[in-house]
Symmetry: C2
Subunit: 349 residues, 2 copies
């Protein structure tokens, strides 16, 4: 691959440098054409690197940033007062063209507000959204869902834009010619749902350039019948986090079930390899690395509590998006889709 440079917010997230630095070194070793810029307090990062005995890597550099956005800080306050935060500086590097993408496990609201302020949205997009892939029951086929929490109190036209972006992303990245787009609702029938969803359904039904397949319910998210699922950020975030909660719960039940008696412990011993691969498959960390879509630049949001492997996965997601030139492809296609949409609107009138 050609040389790719990624700016990593090394201070953000629940764990900070002890997770970010090993993850960065891990990915660096796997990708020979990769340069990483660790953004954060120089002294802390140097110390962490010395602990990892890898300070000499010529493809790794530190970019000092004196401040840190706290996980519970208000986005507005972070934007106004933390101009030298690791998060802000990492995004600035993308804006200046010094990095092809940035990755942060920091405060989601602040990351979104800062990315939007610094990078701006793509033409025709009012609000960026958070999009991520979900596993499905159909083998290796994944599904993409948005918005996962960037926006609340979304209007129908925003959900419509999310549908356009999600469809473009699925076709550009997953090579699906006409991705099947569904709207998350609480019933499949047309009569159900709230006002926001009903209005969006009308907009999507009219848009011939989107392969709109109608409503989908929560229990169908994982059945593989949709390539893209669109919803409000509040609802999407609840669906995502509830899924994590259930997976963690069931993992605990599996472990408990096999620890009950001598016999079950014996069964566990025999079933261990199967159970390990199973528990790995239902690990929420496996799908870490959500993208902020709709911005003029690549910003990957790692889960705040991500461990080393999960954070490394988020960096790899950034590499993939740079390699596939996602923002430009999205920009081009969104422009075209919006032009088609306005032509259709004019011909309807």
């Amino acid at each position: 691959m050609e040389t790719i440079t990624i700016a990593v917010d090394a201070i953000g997230g629940d764990h900070g440098p002890p997770v970010v630095v090993p993850a960065a070194l891990h990915v660096l070793a796997a990708y020979p054409g990769l340069n990483l810029i660790l953004v954060g307090d120089r002294d802390i990062l140097l110390k962490e690197l010395q602990g990892c005995q890898a300070a000499e890597n010529s493809r790794l550099c530190i970019h000092h940033a004196s401040e840190r956005v706290e996980m519970n800080e208000s986005p507005a306050q972070a934007l106004r007062t933390k101009k030298d935060s690791s998060m802000r500086v990492a995004i600035n590097l993308v804006k200046k063209g010094l990095a092809n993408a940035c990755v942060s496990a920091g405060n989601t609201g602040a990351l979104m507000a800062t990315a939007r302020f610094v990078l701006k949205t793509l033409p025709g997009i009012d609000r960026p959204a958070i999009i991520s892939t979900f596993p499905t029951m159909k083998g290796q086929k994944n599904m993409r869902m948005l918005d996962l929490g960037a926006n609340v109190d979304t209007r129908a036209e925003h959900l419509f834009q999310f549908a356009v972006m999600g469809s473009v992303m699925a076709s550009a990245v997953d090579n699906i010619q006409t991705p099947r787009v569904c709207l998350l609702n609480i019933g499949e029938e047309d009569i159900k749902g709230n006002e926001q969803v009903k209005e969006t359904a009308v907009l999507l039904s009219r848009a011939s350039f989107i392969n709109y397949q109608g409503y989908i319910e929560g229990d169908q998210i994982y059945n593989g019948d949709a390539d893209v699922i669109v919803c409000d950020g509040f609802v999407g975030n609840v669906a995502l986090k509830t899924s994590e909660g259930v997976a963690i719960f069931i993992r605990k039940l599996i472990q408990e079930a096999f620890e009950q008696s001598f016999f079950t412990k014996l069964a566990a011993l025999v079933a261990l390899p199967v159970l390990k691969s199973l528990i790995k498959r239902i690990d929420p960390n496996r799908y870490n690395g959500a993208s902020f879509i709709g911005l003029q630049g690549i910003v990957i949001k790692s889960h705040g509590g991500a461990k080393v492997k999960a954070f490394a996965h988020a960096i790899e997601e950034a590499i993939m998006q740079v390699e596939k030139n996602i923002p430009e492809r999205i920009c081009k296609e969104v422009e075209q889709v919006l032009r088609l949409s306005s032509q259709q609107k004019n011909s309807d009138e």
Copy 2:
């Protein structure tokens, strides 16, 4: 137990009589003081009963109803045109005092609209809600969540009323002195969330008679830290159904994992009893039987796709609520809470 009579909508749901009739007979056999009224087309029900060879049970009777509310029928249309539907007639029996409760697996929207129209809400309650119990990671401790889909586009005062009802239900049924009430949100910090949730948080913080514990996120639903979780019906329904979807997905993964090779099949053989009990524990049907809370009468909503065991569980939920005299207790406590609330409001002013 004293004699309890329950009206069962025998036609509603995805399966109708072939599920409802065996479930009714099963519960009847287990509860000697129970009378059941099967409501629906007499001929169909007699035929189904003959197939079950149990038509002679003196505690079982059929109440004829000539119509059926379809699963995709609009609630307004069902209410206006299906006055002799099995659903409507079953609710009428409760209204007339001929049954202590009714159970239906029919169209949720129509059941809610009909129950609300026929039975009316309790004083001080604007909208009924759907409440159900969820398992938690804390042993046998369950949690109650509402609203699970009776209302969309809810306002803060409705969510506040849901909190009051949920709290009363948890204290009356689960014998928890001061149930911990949480609001489902997309972040624990005060700055996050949509307008509806933020306004509700203000109302709940002011209400000294509710043990309000703040926000809770989707991944914490199952951790046992809340006794009652309050949310909008759209969000609650997505959380409930997404949980079912994940459970079904993981169940499939477990089965697949143990079927991959000769060795894993052998492991499955050894682990079979553990796996069976595990799969049973993550069966969504296990917690079937949601209540419509806030009505002047007991109405239990079974999952539309419930099988025999799950539908029987919904009937048992109705028996429990009759035995515990839930609506009266709720009515009394809601009145008191609302009186306290208005006193507090006056003293604040």
